[in-house]
Amino acid sequence: MSVFIIRRLLQSLLVVFVMSLLVFFGVNVVGDPVDMLVNPEMTQADIEATIRALGLDRPIHEQYWHFLTNALEADLGKSFIFGEPALKLILQRMPATLELAFVSLVLSVVIGLPLGVYAGLNPESRVSRTIMAGSILGFSLPTFWVGLMLIMIFAVLLGWLPSTGRGDTVEVLGVSVSFLTLDGLSHLLLPAFNLALTNISLVIRLSRAGTREVAQQDYVKFARAKGLGRRRIIFVHVLKNIMIPVVTVLGLEFGGLIAFSVVTETIFAWPGMGKLLIDSVQNLDRPVIVAYLMITVLFFIVINLVVDLLYSLLDPRVRLQDVKA
């Protein structure tokens, strides 16, 4: 297993390097951040001075080399706009995004799994059909539209939940979290649900299909013949076996939730990394965009590794080794 992990890490390093090339050069050919930064009343000489101060007058390969050597010392550059290290800006906002992604992941399991298992056990019932129709909506409605509708219904019309921002936070081990306060929780609910929507549908579909398949298997029939209770059959024999695809998919989706919570964060003005990314893209704050994408790459690599490990725990038949071609 350790050989597997070491080899995976080496591969990852190569991926990170190639990504850094792609990301850096990709981001640096678009537009010119100077126009986003300077006050229009500035003279040409002032504009030149800003270009030099940001190091944008140097050839691109030199800029990349500068970036790469600094990156090895965990310095991903300074934000053009905030003048602070890009890494610090991202880490500052990371707890908010992680919290949002985590809560939405919990929501997708807590809501999706029971509904999916129910639909799998009673495929012909009217309730199941409603659940399945709902899951199609969950897939196909655009996130920003659903987000605005959630705000319109729960915040504007009913006035139950706040529409924007993060609410009160408390510090836990130096990280500020909002799910431990009532105010924070109320701010969290709508954006987390909005973000979870696609995943809820995904979990419903996966667990329904899994349940239907597993319910026909011999060991379930045998368990039933042995006279085990319905509850025990569902919770031990069925659930455990449908969890493998669910964990795999959710693991991959978790990376997506973190990296691409952009839309939800923008609509709900959630102060996370996604909102920072959108602002940075609009203002061409290149160091932040590059740092963000590099961190995202790392996230996906780590998550994939964790998923592989979890997989082997759930199903002992899976051996951790490289697939031979």
Partner: protein
């Protein structure tokens, strides 16, 4: 109809003015379209930063809602000779920590404000060539190398910081609050980037006590979300209300709208400098000598634009037709210039006179995320020009790509486009700002025409602008600026379209004394209750 609404807001604001001073411990939560990038008032010369700084700090000279200069930390200022200005400082002003405000702070600020490390856009332009000298604790002389009539305008742009707290302090010390000690109506309490900025009332403020005891600022970039937050009652007041929603909101009795004209003119720049312009073609796509260099063609284009239709349909009535660089009432505006009347027949006749009776083909370029309804305006203009025979296609793009190409996307760093939509807000609140940057001949060495993307050049206009910039006598300068504007507009240097009107919205009874510089200043937000 629009002017009436504007007047009604003004009356309402005036009527509520008496109440505001008496009100108690009211808290105000606001939703802003963009977040300041720093608490340091000298780090980034940017509208959100400058409006925030106005609460915590004060400049020597303030600009009122119409950008007229009024006393701030200085009670009076005057030129005592061509190269020296005397500022009398307000007595009895204290910093938030209780220490007195003196001339030392002013001298320190002039040194610091132009030299903040990593500043992406510094205040250097307003400070360069000025040296401050302390005469006594409440008198400062500022000396210049050349006569500087715009001294008061320049001085009004930046905040005075405390020497005691600012010495050796970097931008991060302001952001953390350690150095954010000002003389303003509000004290800095907290900044959680991306989430909120909290301010509390300074009970020792030298001016009139503001109505709100504390203010929470929430950045909500998405316009529909900002509006929803207001409707849901999560915020009391928002800026940047989209024009499409204004009509609906007018019918909502829980919402109070406040509107005001902006110092921003939306205009068209045309290629004045190339004989073969890259986006101008003869009918059918062949080569053509750049017709935009003919003043009759420029005039025909201006005549072909139905400004009233743009204001009414594209801008939903929330804009004012423009005939020059700044709206009525600003310093240096010409009383003789009116918006060009819509006259498509006259335009066709002019085109025929200019030797292009059948028109030509052209592309209009514009941003799609910078000005109110910018892409829609470009489309409307393309249709209007096509109607008189100039077959115009539209290409719009995000501002992050647009401005680079518009300023220096062509060969040798020249402007790339032939015909483009741009806007200009006069930060100094008077006509020299657009004249200097948009109309004066491009001259990098002397700092003129930095945004002259059509490379318009007219020695007569240049001379007038330069003379105005060296004339201390206000009346004479005003006339020179107005004359420069008249010559340039008659010559079709640019084609003005309309002035933007900005809209703020508050919950019932909360109104705003709208400002021309687009700043959102919370001491100007008042409630009727």
């Amino acid at each position: 109809m629009f002017i009436r609404r504007l007047a009604a807001t003004a009356v309402l604001a005036a009527a509520t003015f008496g109440f505001s001073a008496a009100a108690g411990a009211e808290e105000l939560t606001v939703g802003l379209a963009s977040e300041p990038t720093s608490i340091d008032p000298h780090y980034h010369n940017l509208t959100p930063n400058n409006s925030l700084a106005r609460h915590i700090f004060n400049p020597l000279i303030l600009m009122d809602a119409n950008q007229a200069l009024i006393p701030g930390l200085a009670t009076s200022w005057m030129a005592i000779d061509d190269l020296t200005w005397e500022f009398k400082l307000r007595e009895g002003v204290t910093w938030h920590d209780g220490s007195p405000f003196t001339a030392d702070d002013v001298v320190f600020t002039l040194e610091r404000a132009a030299n903040v490390p990593n500043s992406p856009s510094s205040f250097g332009i307003y400070i360069k060539g000025k040296t401050a000298e302390k005469i006594d604790d409440h008198t400062v002389h500022i000396k210049t190398e050349v006569p500087t009539p715009l001294m008061p305008n320049d001085i009004s742009t930046f905040s005075i910081v405390s020497k005691a707290h600012g010495e050796g302090a970097g931008t991060e010390d302001y952001n953390s609050g350690a150095a954010a000690i000002g003389t303003g109506a509000y004290r800095f309490v907290e900044w959680v980037p991306g989430d909120r900025i909290v301010l509390e009332r300074n009970e020792d403020f030298w001016g009139e006590q503001p109505e709100w005891s504390s203010i929470t600022i929430k950045p909500i970039k998405s316009a529909p979300a900002r509006l929803a937050a207001l409707l849901a009652g999560d915020v009391d007041f928002i800026e940047g209300v989209p024009t499409t929603d204004i009509e609906t909101l007018e019918g909502n009795e829980n919402i109070t709208l406040s509107q005001g004209i902006s110092n921003r003119v939306i205009y068209l720049h045309l290629d004045h400098f190339r004989d073969e312009s890259p986006f101008v073609r003869a009918n059918g796509g062949g080569d053509i000598v750049n017709p935009l260099r003919d003043v009759r063609v420029r005039k025909a284009i201006s005549m072909a634009i139905n400004r009233q239709a743009i204001v009414e349909r594209v801008m939903e009535g929330v804009a004012i037709e423009a005939g020059q660089l700044l709206p009525e009432g600003f310093f240096g505006v010409s009383p003789n210039l009116q918006p060009m009347p819509y006259d498509p027949e006259g335009a066709k006749a002019l085109l025929a006179e200019a030797g292009v009776p059948d028109g030509f083909e052209m592309t209009i370029h514009g941003p799609n995320d910078r000005y109110i309804n910018d892409a829609k305006i470009a489309e409307a203009i393309a249709q209007m020009l096509t109607r008189i025979g100039i077959k115009t296609t539209v290409e719009t793009m995000p501002r992050s790509v647009y401005f680079k190409r518009a300023s220096r996307g062509g060969p040798d760093g020249t402007p790339e486009f032939s015909f483009m939509l741009v806007g200009w807000g006069a930060g100094t609140g008077e006509a020299s700002s657009p004249l200097k940057s948009l109309i004066h001949t491009y001259d990098a060495d002397r700092g003129f025409g930095a945004s002259n993307r059509g490379r318009y050049s007219n020695p007569e206009v240049d001379a007038l602008i330069e003379e105005a910039l060296a004339t201390i006598d206000d009346a004479k300068r005003q006339d020179l600026l107005a004359e420069a504007t008249e010559v340039a507009i008659e010559d079709g240097a640019i084609i003005p379209l309309h002035y933007q009107v900005n809209t703020w919205a508050g919950r019932e009874g909360i109104s705003y004394n709208a400002r021309t510089d687009e700043y959102t200043i919370f001491t100007e937000v008042s409630s009727v209750e």
